[in-house]
Symmetry: C2
């Protein structure tokens, strides 16, 4: 039924004009955009210009930011202005954010005043807030309109709205009163008024709230769009379900990266440059080098014990890795549960009790396993030392892993900063101390 | 405007009958459900039974599976049957999956035949497939209907459909031909037919495809719903945008857990029992104990070198942790990029080249840092040994971390099995070998 992206790309590059027009009109704009991203910008524009303006704007909206700005350099100024005016309000504001000062100055005078002001308004909200991802193209209805009149109005406004499937009911001052589904409008009795069929339990979000909260609310209430209000409860925009999906995906990726100590990699891994990747990774790696000095210092401190019982070294990697592994399990569970709202800060007491119980069970199981190896390699005394150490190290590692995300969250830091390597480093240093302390006390007494 | 969950809970438990009715009618069913989950099932049913049947079904659909089955034990059989018949088709099938054999046998005869068959049909698809999350309540239209007639039809069917905002165009054999937006139906000229206004680039998904592919397609094409077809291209259901959000969230959580070696924790961390948490964590922890024996064996192998230069031990944790940290950065980047489709299996060559470049830069930077500490603690020779080791360990660790997800993916295993602890274990063992090999060759020559 549909072409694959490489097939589509070949068609766009080598097809006759007619083929290109037909393809661009028929395929989904997301697929056209994906095919174009692999083409030189001049060729992409050559193919795109043959489509209708509406289609041009749709495809342009699906392009990645990097390719958008690149393409913007080869599209003539007036053609670009036409495309921008036809784009969705939120996509347009995003594009504006990405353009260079020069590109902005060339583009803006070519736009109509209404679009210019709308772009400036939407682009003024801070990145990461609900305002930054909302669109101003929502359908609003007055309270006393009849359902029939509302349908006529929505029908007329449909082409300029991001969605008409939910319309927002506002008073004269644009204060949000509720919302109404198109489905309820078209099935309402002829004489019904909007106020009779609207829902008043509409959960709005503030314009400066976190975009993640907005996405989570859309997921929770299964709505097509979420209204965004200012501090005075005036409706200023809506966030649609497709933006919620994008935000949740991006936030999950950010947390994945953070848990592995990769910072601020806003580019795709597929296209990020070597210096960008280097910068995203080096700072935490360096920091952790110094963190691990504590483990080294711990070992140095017990040099005499080690020299006397070199067999202890055989078990060192197993013991400290186990503490780190148990700790990173705990921290990952907490980081994710805090991010999804599955648990909150106030749950820490209950979670702590359960974590302790689980950690004791894990520690005992692993102590039994390692004690068996210990008897073989070092005798019964060594086995006792490493079994005791294992229990303690796993319990302490788990509790560190569990607590750290809560502590960070308590001090308004992202819990995902409790990265696996950070938890492992702390658990490692603690593990060294526990192991050799137990070893010294038991083995010297013997 | 709305009550918090604890406030709502207090109202449901202690309010007069009238208050309860008002609240259950006014608040969003998701909030009512959240409040009820903290109540004893008898009390929850006492509050819920006062609402309209429609509302009962909505609230019931938002309850977690565990609480649904618990509540089902206290609701009289006929009342439960009424609720189930009123529920959404997909929620209903999910509930059926969770019920015990006994509960099913009590419930099914009380349902109408159509619902019974629909439940059996939907429940027959394997967990994790598109079929398992789709609903059978979609709106279908014939090709030659006029737009006006289509609107009348959708208006009539609206209460029984999951969405009417996109209707699916099928032939007499229910073969999928395309889809049409309600927006285009209501704005179409009076005499337009469905075939004039429908879109034919509708991306359907097969009923046995992965649910994650379905969710990703909904995100890609920004659609409200995705049609699901059988092997003969017959329409069998749709998946809606809200289910896509749930799937993406669940899949991200699963990957988070897997990357931290937590397996199959299908319960929420907030409510999972101690034995369940123990089982989700112990197997990999045990496996890794044996994995880390290699590091221990490596150290044991170089016991002479260590005994001669005990200062080497100080740097061991720093060096092997650095390899593990760099490796877990690389593996996490790959695991996430493969999961989101940002990169594919065929990209490995390009990614490898870039990874090597980044790893060399990282290794050199960290070698400089550790060499400075090395000169202080062990003199110039030790500094040379650890600097050389650091460069090699970071490069090898990064490449292991990068390659492992690709290799697993190539053999049809989940790339997220390349968990941070697994990568770290392999990098640790390799790090021990590299470090002491370099140490032995340089320090004995000297």
């Amino acid at each position: 039924m549909n072409n694959s992206i490489p097939q589509l790309q070949a068609l766009l590059r080598e097809g006759t004009s007619q083929d290109v027009v037909a393809q661009v009109a028929h395929e989904h704009p997301a697929d056209i955009a994906a095919a174009m991203e692999g083409m030189p910008p001049e060729e992409a524009w050559h193919a795109l210009r043959q489509a209708s303006l509406r289609r041009q704007a749709q495809v342009f909206g699906y392009l990645g930011h990097d390719f958008q700005t690149l393409l913007a350099t080869v599209i003539p100024r007036t053609a670009l202005a036409d495309i921008v005016m036809e784009m969705k309000a939120d996509d347009r504001a995003d594009l504006y954010q990405e353009l260079s000062e020069e590109q902005r100055e060339a583009l803006m005078p070519a736009l109509a005043q209404a679009e210019r002001e709308d772009i400036r308004q939407l682009a003024s909200y801070e990145d990461g807030t609900a305002g930054a991802i909302m669109t101003s193209e929502y359908a609003a209805l007055p309270l006393n309109l009849s359902a029939t009149a509302a349908l006529t109005m929505l029908r007329r406004e449909a082409p300029d709205k991001e969605t008409i499937y939910r319309a927002y009911v506002v008073d004269d001052a644009r204060k949000l009163l509720g919302s109404v589904r198109l489905q309820d409008i078209i099935t309402a009795p002829a004489r019904a008024k909007i106020c009779d069929i609207m829902e008043t339990n509409t959960h709005a979000i503030r314009v400066d709230d976190d975009e993640e909260d907005a996405a989570r609310r859309i997921a929770r209430y299964d709505v097509i769009a979420l209204p965004v209000v200012d501090a005075q409860d005036h409706l200023v925009g809506i966030i649609t379900h497709d933006d919620a999906l994008d935000v949740m995906e991006a936030e999950a990726t950010e947390d994945f990266h953070r848990v592995a100590t990769i910072t601020d990699l806003d580019a795709s891994v597929a296209t990020a440059s070597v210096p960008k990747l280097y910068r995203a990774r080096i700072s935490w790696l360096m920091l952790l080098v110094f963190g691990n000095i504590f483990s080294g210092a711990g070992i140095a401190h017990f040099e005499d014990t080690i020299a006397a019982h070199l067999a202890l070294m055989f078990f060192l990697p197993i013991l400290i890795a186990s503490g780190g592994n148990a700790g990173s399990q705990s921290s990952t569970l907490m980081v994710r549960a805090l991010a999804t709202g599955d648990i909150g800060l106030s749950d820490w007491g209950r979670v702590f009790g359960r974590e302790l119980a689980v950690a004791i069970l894990l520690g005992l199981s692993m102590a039994v396993a390692i004690a068996m190896i210990g008897v073989f390699r070092g005798g019964r005394e060594i086995a006792l030392v490493i079994a005791l150490s294992m229990v303690l190290i796993v319990i302490v590692g788990s509790l560190i892993g569990m607590m750290l995300p809560f502590i960070l969250s308590r001090f308004n830091m992202d819990p995902a900063t409790a990265s696996t390597p950070l938890v492992t480093s702390i658990a490692d240093a603690t593990g060294v101390l526990i192991y050799f302390s137990i070893a010294r006390s038991i083995l010297t007494i013997a």
